[in-house]
């Protein structure tokens, strides 16, 4: 070990940059001694002994240019070992070498996060550094993307909460100077917002920050939205009113498919509206995905603790039901801050299972329940729960043949409640009194233990009243008309559904009252109606719309988004046939989402894809209408006229409808050729669509496909009257010819395009210059020979990316 130390201490010239790798290889060597498998140079300092750390630190101390590189070491070796260097750090900070200065910030940052107070005096120098940075006085080498040394900047801003006038000025300056077009500019802006939220609030800065946030939130990039949400969360602590402008954006983020964004969005939400919404979502999720009852109950307990007031009453009931059906052990949460629903649940559980384990006596529990009822003396529902719980406990006591002694406070509570203004409470109080006065078997039958959610058979038809009804009819009374047969009445089942929705959201309803219904379709549930409109052209579209709208209006329901989509399809319906247009557009969108490669390429493909399909579909009615054409088609394709119709339905079945899939049924011959060329079974061919999308985009077979369709169309119309067998070969010729041409151009030069796929660079340029991405892609194809060699190597190495093997 000593020679290593010597090495560190030796006064070797470290001025040239490439001296460093050598030193590093020393470290590497050392590392390997300790850990034969070790290759992580960076880990080394973690395992250095204390004296070695000091040596590292000493290395830092002398006036050496590249010394700043070693701050990384110093940093890892822990604050304690460098504490004696703080003075040195401070000197460095005011020095004129920007590299050293920047590097010093790192360890200082660490030290400060450990102990804020002792470094407050540094704020001034930090601010001055920041000012330098903002005024671009630092040397050019630190510029990155035309922004002065953002990393110094970024590291610096988060440090201190001390407010100062100067800081306001500087931060405001940065706000103005940062350009928001590059990532790093936005990063600095974000740090600025963090800084603004940390220092003493300044209205002007807050305004600027709010502007930046709104820009973030409005941007299309999910990354910026994420940053915006995060920044909003920080700023909201200072000025909640900022959030109000962005409520919609936040809700959008919540509905985003992106998990990260969703989770981030949960954080800043602290006003009631969001809370309600989020709580309901939490409940929904936990209901759906609960791994076990235990977990569910714990989660629900947490939800109640945080937002008990805002949770739908039904949820509490569901929880009770679950406890009743599952197991009964849930009275352990004795938190100081219990919300309404939580209290109710606890009351209920105590009533149902409080005495079941025999740990607490009935009188003890009833006493507690009385206390609860008193504590919530202005809340009738809590009192109701409490009284019912007391009643249950007494009932169980009676049915267990134990002697019941009613506590005086219970007595007084019951008396008070029986004189209550609330009829519900009165009723419960009387019931309680009645139950107490009964004997054990009777109580047993009306209050069986642990049977609160047992199914009680209810005779819905009220058959025991039949005799009475019969009598009345005989006396000349009108017979009863079922509700849904009375014309002009609204569909009750529909409405109860909507009411649930509204109870969830408390949202306003903007649509007009529904039209009076015709008698028949009222029994169909709303979902069925919606789907039927999808499949069949509905005679009264306005009515169908009426039904669907309330379901899609509240932002809560999961179905809402999809419903919205459906409505969009309704708009589309103008253009094509209603039947298949919606699935087609759906599938194309999912196609663009699912694909594994570059975004822009796929998008272009899928749009062209859907375009062809659109045009195809707009022509389809013709094909269907005239039977001659059908006959013609069947003679053309040997009874395969059905496949002619199948593509769209096939597409709509296979969710990741891809390019060959849409190509194949329309051009059966071409598909056959396809398979011949590839020697691949057709299912693979279908899968191939995702991978080879770039190939597709470069040659764009759909253009040709479109042209092809045009030609066949022309041919078909030319042949319209005469089903001449002589003409068919011609058409076949056209068909085969075009398809082959299209195909050959798409398969002809597979290697370069294939190589393109691997090309990180092309994707890279995608990022920097999105607009040009496709052009570069075309230009960048290296020579096939090169890629052939690489391909051979790939096979040797066992690296077999799917697309390559499939195409070559």
């Amino acid at each position: 070990m000593t020679h290593d130390d010597n090495l560190l201490l030796s006064n070797a010239p470290v001025t040239s940059r490439f001296a460093l790798p050598q030193r590093r290889s020393r470290f590497d060597h050392l590392d390997r001694q300790h850990h034969p498998e070790g290759s992580q140079v960076g880990q080394l300092p973690c395992r250095l002994e204390a004296h070695q750390r000091r040596d590292c630190a000493r290395l830092f101390a002398p006036e050496r240019r590249p010394s700043w590189r070693f701050t990384a070491f110093v940093r890892i070796s822990g604050p304690s070992s460098v504490s004696h260097l703080v003075l040195n750090f401070r000197k460095r900070l005011c020095g004129n070498d920007s590299g050293v200065m920047g590097a010093t910030l790192c360890p200082l940052f660490d030290l400060i996060t450990v102990d804020v107070k002792s470094y407050k005096d540094l704020v001034v120098s930090f601010v001055s550094i920041l000012q330098q940075v903002a005024e671009r006085r630092l040397p050019k080498t630190h510029d990155y993307h035309q922004l002065p040394a953002p990393f110094i900047n970024v590291g610096n801003l988060g440090i201190d909460k001390q407010s100062s006038e100067k800081m306001h000025m500087v931060v405001g300056d940065i706000f103005r100077k940062c350009d928001s077009t590059s990532n790093i500019g936005n990063a600095v802006l974000y740090e600025c917002i963090c800084c603004v939220s940390a220092i003493y609030p300044n209205p002007k800065l807050l305004e600027q920050a709010a502007q930046v946030i709104s820009r973030f939130l409005k941007s299309d990039s999910h990354n910026l939205k994420y940053m915006g949400i995060d920044a909003l969360g920080r700023l909201i602590k200072i000025s909640p009113e900022i959030a109000e402008q962005h409520q919609l954006a936040v809700i959008d983020c919540l509905e985003d498919p992106d998990d990260t964004l969703k989770r981030k969005t949960f954080e800043p939400s602290n006003d009631n509206h969001y809370k309600t919404y989020i709580a309901s979502r939490c409940v929904e999720l936990s209901v759906q995905f609960a791994p076990s009852n235990q977990w569910f109950i714990q989660t629900m307990n947490k939800v109640f603790e945080h937002a008990g007031d805002l949770v739908n009453v039904k949820v509490a009931h569901n929880l009770m039901k679950l406890i009743a059906e599952g197991f009964g052990e849930d009275d352990d949460s004795a938190d100081s801050q219990l919300r309404w629903s939580h209290i109710c649940v606890i009351c209920w559980v105590l009533g149902e299972y409080g005495t079941a384990d025999g740990k607490y006596s009935a009188s003890y529990i009833t006493g507690k329940l009385c206390d609860v009822a008193e504590a919530y003396s202005n809340d009738e529902s809590v009192k109701a729960y409490a009284v019912t719980a007391i009643m249950k406990i007494y009932a169980f006591e009676i049915s267990a043949q134990r002697k019941v002694d009613i506590l005086p406070e219970c007595q007084s509570l019951v008396e008070e409640l029986s004189a209550s203004h609330s009829t519900d409470l009165q009723q419960r109080a009387y019931e309680l009194q009645a139950v107490i006065s009964l004997d054990a078997p009777a109580v047993e039958s009306i209050m069986p233990s642990d049977a609160s959610f047992e199914d009680i058979e209810i005779d819905k038809r009220l058959s025991f009243l039949n005799g009475y009804v019969q009598q009345a009819l005989e006396k000349g009374a009108q017979p009863y008309i079922p509700e849904n047969e009375r014309s002009g009445m609204l569909n009750i089942s529909n409405f109860s559904n909507q009411d649930q929705h509204e109870a969830l959201t408390h949202g306003l309803r903007f649509e007009a009252y529904e039209l009076p219904k015709p008698a028949v379709p009222s029994r169909i549930p709303p979902a069925a109606v919606a789907s039927s409109t999808e499949l069949v052209p509905v005679p009264e579209p306005s009515y169908a719309r009426e039904i669907r709208q309330p379901a899609s209006l509240p932002p809560v329901s999961d179905a809402g988004s999809s419903e919205l989509k459906l409505r969009l399809d309704g708009v589309q319906r103008k253009w094509g046939r209603p039947t298949y247009s919606s699935p087609a557009s759906n599938s194309s969108s999912s196609n663009s989402q699912k694909s594994a490669n570059g975004v822009t390429q796929i998008d272009s493909v899928s749009t062209s894809n859907s375009k062809t399909r659109d045009t195809y579909e707009s022509r389809r009615p013709q094909v269907e209408i005239s039977p001659e054409k059908q006959k013609l088609a069947s003679s053309l394709f040997g009874g395969s006229s059905k496949t002619e119709r199948r593509p769209s339905s096939a597409n709509h079945k296979v969710s990741k409808a891809n390019i060959p899939a849409s190509e194949k049924p329309q051009v059966p011959k071409a598909a056959a050729v396809h398979t011949e060329v590839n020697h691949e079974p057709s299912p693979d061919l279908l899968d191939l669509g995702d991978a080879t999308s770039s190939t597709a985009s470069t040659v764009d077979p759909f253009k040709q496909l479109e042209g092809l369709l045009d030609q066949t169309e022309v041919a078909l119309t030319a042949n319209h009257g005469a089903v001449g067998a002589a003409k068919t070969p011609d058409i076949m010729g056209i068909y085969a010819d075009t398809s082959l041409r299209g195909l050959s151009s798409s398969v002809g030069d597979p290697l370069p395009t294939n190589r393109d796929e691997f090309n990180l660079a092309s994707e890279l340029s995608n990022v920097t210059r999105t607009a040009q991405s496709r052009v570069t892609q075309l230009n960048k194809g290296p020579n096939p020979k090169d890629s052939l060699e690489k391909d051979a190597l790939v096979r040797q190495m066992g690296v077999t990316p799917t697309s390559q093997t499939q195409l070559v």
Partner: protein
């Protein structure tokens, strides 16, 4: 501080894994696996930030970027900025691109050590050293020159002798 850098291909094979805090190899593999599990299930047009706390413990974030067949992911703590990290990935890939001229996964496989050199020039000990890809390129070229020069001499005592003679 940057905790880890990983480059994983779309099949789940790690191409580069660098952990700036000590992790036993088994743990490393497990982390890579779980990161891949998360990344591969993410949709195309979502943000590049992933909640990594369930994988790497508290106060960690993960930023990733998908290039062709490779995922580049950086794991770091709250002292770094997500967008800045995203740009750092960009710098890294740009540098690789300059290094290999149209970099592809195969380059990364075949020139494993070079990739490491580039990585070490950009991040060291969990700290960002250099953000300019031209600077990094200069350094990498110097290193490779040095390597080819010293390859002529014996391999093991290289560093010491070269060091002493200076």
């Amino acid at each position: 501080m940057i905790r880890a850098v990983m480059v994983i291909n779309t099949q789940g094979k790690p191409r580069l894994a660098k952990f700036y805090e000590f992790q036993p190899v088994e743990k490393q593999q497990e982390l890579i696996r779980s990161v891949y599990g998360v990344l591969s299930s993410r949709a195309e047009n979502v943000s590049n930030f992933v909640d990594a706390e369930s994988i790497f413990g508290p106060d960690t974030r993960l930023v990733y970027k998908h290039f062709a067949t490779l995922y580049f992911c950086f794991v770091f703590d709250s002292s770094e900025n997500e967008l800045a990290m995203l740009d750092l990935i960009q710098v890294f890939v740009e540098t690789l691109d300059k290094c290999f001229k149209n970099v592809c996964e195969l380059d990364v496989v075949l020139n494993y050590s070079k990739m490491h050199t580039v990585m070490d020039e950009i991040i060291f000990g969990g700290q960002v050293l250099e953000t300019s890809s031209t600077e990094v390129m200069k350094a990498v070229e110097e290193i490779s020159k040095l390597e080819t020069a010293s390859n002529a001499i014996s391999l093991v005592p290289k560093s010491v002798s070269a060091w002493r003679s200076r």
